[in-house]
Amino acid sequence: MTRASFILRGALATGAVYGATAVAPFVSQALAATGGGDAEILNFALTLEYLESDFYTVKGKQVGLSGQAKSYATLFGAEEEAHVSALTAAIKQLGGTPVAKPTFVFPTTNESSFLALASVLENTGVGAYNGAGPSLKSKAVLASAGSIVQTEARHAAAIDLLIGQSPTPNQGFDRPLTKAEVLAKAGPLIKA
């Protein structure tokens, strides 16, 4: 046993919270998440990806970013666009009809407010995918959603570090979000 003392302290602190019932709080969240079939769930995800993609590629340019913020917006914007393409194709493959790209309105006017909103969007995206994951019927779709959510989590951490926030806002376990919780964050940004 060569654990550092912080781990022992951590174990004492978390022992009451985790352990045998550790999974319970997440599950009730996740399972209550999104109803509907896989295509419907993916259309919800597609809306979020459209939102993120538009935010980085269009709003990012309008705001006028510099340095690391600009680099991230360029890189992450391209990756969100790839998610849009993948989800569109997946929905068609499932026999569904991909939603049209909505019009968005982003209340940011400078780099600082842009990055603050980026953090909200990315962290909401992580919670949305994690919440929907257990509801997906197709294991292939689940594998792809997992691949995407890992990227969203990486974006979230990078943005949070850049603005001096914790890269792990939910500590050891990212909290899955329900559809209603996601809409509360993203809904006001969707104009039509």
Binding site: A82, K139, S147, R154, G172
Partner: protein, 230 residues
């Protein structure tokens, strides 16, 4: 094409993954049971959709979506959980040694401590999940990690976290129990956050796989961790 997990090979009582690394017969049996995840499990549609624009498309996994007909019970999930538990034990021990090394102070040191604590909570959660499913948690393996300099350790941590994230991603489609899946997803994205954070520290990409993170199968991961088992 991967085989769905089967009932025939119940998980070993303890220390399973540690043994698997050394015991080729057991390992093959285990891998057959848990399914050969990784590249083959990746949704074909993503490969189709992203074309040659991402690294994902260059993986040899142009085939085979995951089987949706798998109907194994808790046996497969227990094996996956004990596999994850073994990896989390190693990560926890690694961070403990990194913290003890004193190479990192200030803001970075604080992040490293946080990550170590979070890995420890993963260990506790996974042990709890194994017990909840009626299984026996894997024994803690004894690790050995080269700790020589801040730069080397940070790079190793980046590698380890990327491996951990890809390991969870590789198993997700094989998890049968929705509660277990929800928990694995909750952990998976945290490993991704760790990996990205360390990426900024060592000035490597925060998204080394591009838009689509690439899963790793169990044999790849076990081979990669083997040097870190004492």
């Amino acid at each position: 094409m991967s085989n769905p997990p089967s009932e025939q090979s119940a998980p070993q009582p303890a220390g399973i993954v540690e043994r698997l690394v050394r015991d080729d017969v057991d390992r093959k049996r285990f891998l057959r049971m848990a399914g050969s995840a990784g590249a083959a499990s990746f949704g074909a549609f993503v490969l189709a959709a992203c074309g040659s624009s991402s690294k994902t498309a260059s993986t040899p996994a142009t085939t085979a979506a995951v089987s949706t007909t798998s109907s194994s019970g808790a046996g497969g999930d227990l094996a996956i959980l004990n596999y994850a538990l073994t990896l989390e034990y190693l990560e926890t021990e690694f961070y403990g040694k990194v913290v003890a090394s004193g190479f990192f102070t200030g803001k970075v040191g604080s992040l490293i401590k946080d990550f170590g604590s979070q890995e420890m909570t993963h260990v506790e959660a996974l042990k709890g999940a194994v017990e909840k499913l009626g299984g026996t948690p894997a024994a803690k393996p004894e690790g050995k990690f080269p700790i020589t300099s801040a730069t080397q350790v940070a790079m190793l941590a980046y590698t380890v976290e990327n491996l951990g994230a890809s390991a969870y991603l590789g198993q997700a489609p094989y998890i049968q129990n929705a509660e277990v899946l929800a928990s694995a997803l909750a952990i998976h994205s945290v490993e991704a956050r760790h990996a990205a954070t360390l990426g900024t520290l060592v000035k490597k990409s925060v998204t080394p796989d591009g838009a689509f993170a690439v899963p790793a199968d169990m044999s790849t991961v076990l081979a990669a961790v083997k040097p870190f088992l004492a």
